[in-house]
């Protein structure tokens, strides 16, 4: 390991940069493929997710895990920091989620198990991860959720109402050992839209340093939430892109959408790195 670092330093001019560039691109490919894993199929609802790294690779994370009882476990999170270090911890977080989701009963238990698994690593590294984990039951139309220091999702109902979810507070992963995470449950209506997000959206900046902020996001959600899920996602993306107008972003932008439908189900998800 040390020998390899040593060799990098003494390569001829330019070689190190090309080697690192190639490795970063490979790392990006790994991350993109993991984020774009096989998507589950649901009844009477659709989910979609997108993550746009501020750099070549990022520390935001989302995932879907179909449970044997027909529910879908959804997770979205934000690793402290940027770029390669955050991406490495994002992979650690993904592994912890995949492992915990299989063996835990609900989103609160999942977060508790994840914290138990990676707390010590995060503390040693002086890092943390915020996560929102939720179980969607398409049969009962209930959403049960728990938060590890992450923003609660926004629920848009029709073109007028944004529902405020009952608060569940929980410390970020890596904050405290042996933490337990409380859950809350809401029942959704047909056509409701649940919007999970990371702070990169509301903190997206234009060239003047102005932030996108929650008010703009709420307005776009209300204006578009009767559309198809892909159209809603595109509308939000377009709104952020128009606002930022190609200004370089400091933070990754990630969102997951859950739309309750009256009819059939479709799952879509994609991931588009900002190059």
């Amino acid at each position: 390991m040390f020998r390899r670092d040593f060799l990098y330093d003494f390569m001829p001019d330019g070689t190190m940069d090309k080697t690192l560039e190639r490795e970063i691109k490979l790392a990006r490919n790994i991350q993109m493929k993991l984020l774009n894993g096989k998507k589950p199929e649901l009844e009477k609802s659709e989910v979609s997710g997108i993550s746009i790294p501020a750099r070549l690779i990022g520390g935001d994370y989302y995932d879907f895990y179909p449970l044997s009882n027909g529910k879908l476990r959804i997770i979205i999170g934000d690793v402290m920091g940027k770029g390669i270090p955050a991406a490495m911890l994002m992979i650690l977080t993904r592994g912890a989620f995949r492992s915990a989701a299989e063996s835990t009963h609900g989103p609160g238990d999942t977060l508790t198990a994840m914290n138990k698994a990676i707390y010590q690593d995060l503390r040693v590294l002086g890092s943390f991860v915020t996560l929102l984990c939720a179980d969607w039951d398409p049969e009962k139309k209930t959403l049960t959720y728990a938060s590890a220091g992450h923003y609660l999702p926004i629920i848009a109902r029709g073109s007028q109402n944004l529902l405020e979810l009952p608060k569940v507070k929980g410390v970020m992963l890596g904050g405290l050992p042996n933490t337990e995470y409380m859950e809350s449950t809401v029942t959704l209506n047909d056509e409701d839209l649940v919007f999970f997000y990371t702070d990169g959206i509301i903190e997206a900046q234009n060239a003047g340093g102005e932030m996108y902020r929650i008010d703009r996001l709420n307005e776009v959600l209300l204006r578009n939430n009767t559309l198809d899920i892909n159209e809603i996602e595109n509308a939000i993306n377009d709104s952020i892109s128009k606002f930022t107008n190609n200004a370089p972003q400091k933070d990754d932008i990630t969102m997951v959408l859950l739309k309750v439908n009256k009819g059939s189900t479709n799952i879509t998800s994609y991931n588009s790195p900002m190059l």
């Binding site: 402290m80 503390r123 943390f128 923003y151 507070k169 904050g175 405290l176 400091k250």
Partner: protein, 108 residues
Amino acid sequence: MEPLINVVKKIDGDRCTLALDGVLDYSSMDPFIEEIRSLEKWINNVIVDFSGLQFIDSTGIGAIINLVHEANTNDFEVELVGINEEVQMLFDTIGVFKIMESLKKGGN
């Protein structure tokens, strides 16, 4: 180019105040980390004053949390003062205050 953050250090007996002026984020946090690393051994109380803070990102919050854990390990107190409503909500959501409270009660 002006630094994104200015950390003003004041020592009064065993109390050290670190007043933050500017942006505490991924690109600017080094001066703050340096001040933490070079804290005098006789300091029993570190006060971080956020009155002049314009923005804090997850890396900045990480630095605060690490300070809180370090205080617990090395037996000194940390106080966060001058926090505006927005940062108050952010710290509350992420769990900064809960960590401080829990560590104070011996939750290590």
